[in-house]
């Protein structure tokens, strides 16, 4: 399987297979290379400035005590030593890792929703749009709403007590044990519509005659889902898991607006801590070092994920 197969626009990818290796003269290839670079130049220049330069420049920066207050000095490995003794940083790494738990839940519910809206019924377009609304709204707005709903005297407590699930008011976001889980819930709630649309595209790409043939052979609905839908959806699951995994590890907005890492460091994520060190404490050098450590961490994690997928038969590139 290649990228084209697991990407969500299957009809766009057919051309890839049609591509023929024609043997052009080297002269023509040379001029084509020149044009190619001309085409890419504006985009690549911007990428160099705002994507590659931050990665490159944060390396020397990480070995200094660069801040707005004091004179900049080379401090060697001090920042890295400090980082691994920094209780808050360790906690933030732990929280970011814990946040990954949200990934399978997102896949489960968005596939469920995709199956639910993948049919011809009156008003189905309305429901598809309705499920997508949280995706288009800003995290600031979403955080304000959920912040109120989830407060001590909020609607959620009222509903849960009314139904009898809890018997005491809980202040979900300022409780050390619940805050992180509630944030994960909000992340999931906001993302469901997005992944639902991708899974819906995947479901609609499944040939109907395949399902019908299975039905004629006496397969029931559950068997169709298990034996046909899920295997054919696999590339989409891989793609969505990857995107939501990256989102979970990088999570920032909802934490920043709702809890700023609190109570204590219960919801401090690595992205938030990097930001706090950089733009609230102005320890640019230390912040860069933290960014580097987290980046290396994520790269290692992705290599492991890719390795496992290679074994599973999916070639992501």
């Amino acid at each position: 399987m290649n990228w084209a197969d697991f990407w969500y626009l299957p009809n766009f990818s057919k051309g890839a297979l049609q591509m023929k290796r024609n043997h052009n003269s080297s002269k023509k290839i040379n001029s084509e290379a020149k044009t190619a670079w001309l085409f890419m130049a504006p985009g690549l220049i911007l990428l160099c400035l705002f994507v590659f330069w931050p990665i490159i420049y944060s390396v020397p920066l990480a070995f200094t005590n660069y801040s707005v207050i004091a004179e900049t000095e080379f401090v060697g490995l001090d920042n890295f030593v400090k980082a691994f003794h920094d209780v808050d940083f360790i906690a933030s790494l732990k929280n970011s890792l814990l946040y990954v738990i949200v990934v399978p839940f997102i896949q489960f519910f968005s596939i469920l929703m995709a199956i639910l809206v993948n049919r011809k019924m009156k008003g189905i377009r309305f429901f598809r749009s309705a499920y997508y609304i949280p995706v288009v709204t800003s995290m600031v707005a979403v955080s304000i709403i959920w912040g109120w709903l989830l407060s001590q005297n909020g609607v959620i407590n009222y509903l849960l007590m009314y139904v009898g699930i809890i018997d005491k008011k809980i202040s979900w976001l300022s409780n050390y044990n619940t805050a992180l889980w509630v944030l994960m819930f909000i992340t999931m709630w906001k993302g469901l519509g997005y992944y639902m649309m991708i899974y819906l595209a995947g479901l609609q790409a499944i040939p109907l005659d395949l399902v019908e043939a299975a039905r004629i052979d006496g397969a029931n609905r559950w068997q169709v889902i298990r034996k046909i839908t899920i295997p054919l959806l696999k590339p989409y699951v891989f793609f969505c898991s990857l995107i939501s995994l990256m989102g979970a590890i990088r999570v920032f907005d909802e934490v920043f607006v709702l809890t700023s890492g609190g109570p204590g460091n219960a919801t401090l994520t690595s992205s938030l801590y990097i930001y706090q060190q950089g733009f609230q404490k102005f320890n640019f050098g230390y912040s860069s070092a933290l960014g580097l450590i987290v980046s290396v961490f994520i790269v290692v994690l992705s290599v492991i994920v890719f390795f496992f997928n290679r074994k599973g038969g999916v070639n992501p590139y």
Binding site: N11, V136, V140, G278, F284, S295
Partner: protein
């Protein structure tokens, strides 16, 4: 017998469709009802879920205080410029990566894609320093530039360009069109659905971006809506009615844009397959 089964099944499906709709839309509807009831406490217990009266006082007051036209205008300028630049640069960069044959093509693509896993927060400090060095601090350009081209969009557009039959490019060549004209007049129309997708995704990202504008804009008069909203939330955390109304004002335009463009967007996402 079969017909009554169908009705039961339909009722069952609609029941779950509505349950999920309440789950996804409920919070917004509740906010709407809060914003329309000035003087009502959000935290009254039992809470007022449905509006018992309707009054637009919150909207009028918060509009007087905040001059939303200014913030909406800022947001529109930033979002539209950002989307246009992003579509232009992404398509320009993705095209040769999809159809040209040259040395290093796959290497470039691999390097680009691998940057997608680096956390954005890690680059904030250096990007801030770059923007400062470029001398565009406190301008719209400072907000737009870092996201004027994104690897994700290049990745998407490359997939789309790969799907365009090679014959189209060849036919343009036979007619003697320049590569740029082939790209602009022949290839771009072929990838319209994908452009709609990245256009809308980018528009949403720009419209909802609040952190980067706060970092690079010192003048709060230049803030986009989302930044202004987080500012308002910090300033008047006790005035629920105002914040609810302000949040509704900031949310409605993007929902309207989505509802008007959703046809193209959803078509783009699900390709040519009809639902």
């Amino acid at each position: 017998m079969k017909k009554s089964m169908n009705i039961v099944k339909k009722l069952f499906l609609y029941f779950w469709l509505i349950v999920f709709a309440i789950f996804m839309m409920g919070p917004f509807l509740w906010l709407l009802s809060v914003s329309l009831m000035p003087g009502k406490n959000v935290f009254s217990f039992p809470p007022a879920i449905f509006p018992s009266f309707i009054d637009f006082k919150n909207y009028i007051d918060v509009w007087k205080y905040m001059d939303f036209f200014k913030y909406i205008w800022n947001t529109v300028v930033i979002s539209v410029l950002g989307v246009v630049l992003s579509i232009f640069f992404s398509c320009l960069t993705a095209y040769p990566l999809a159809v040209f044959k040259f040395k290093g093509r796959n290497a470039i693509f691999l390097v680009l894609v691998s940057t997608m896993i680096i956390p954005a927060a890690a680059g904030l400090v250096v990007n801030y320093l770059t923007i400062k060095a470029l001398g565009v601090m406190d301008t719209y350009l400072a907000v737009i530039l870092p996201s004027a081209v994104s690897v994700f969009n290049i990745f998407l557009m490359r997939q789309a360009f790969i799907g365009v039959p090679l014959e189209i490019r060849d036919s343009g060549r036979i007619d003697g069109a320049s590569e740029f004209r082939i790209w602009y007049q022949l290839m771009m129309p072929m990838v319209k659905p994908a452009i709609a997708v990245i256009g809308l995704l980018e528009f949403m990202a720009m419209w909802n971006n609040f952190l980067w504008p706060i970092i690079v804009l010192n003048d709060t008069n230049k803030y986009p809506l989302a930044s202004a909203l987080s500012f308002l939330n910090g300033q008047f955390s006790y005035n629920f009615g105002w914040i609810a109304a302000g949040t509704m004002i900031s949310v409605i335009p993007i929902i309207v844009v989505f509802l008007f463009t959703q046809k193209y967007y959803m078509e783009g996402i699900s390709g040519a397959v009809k639902g």
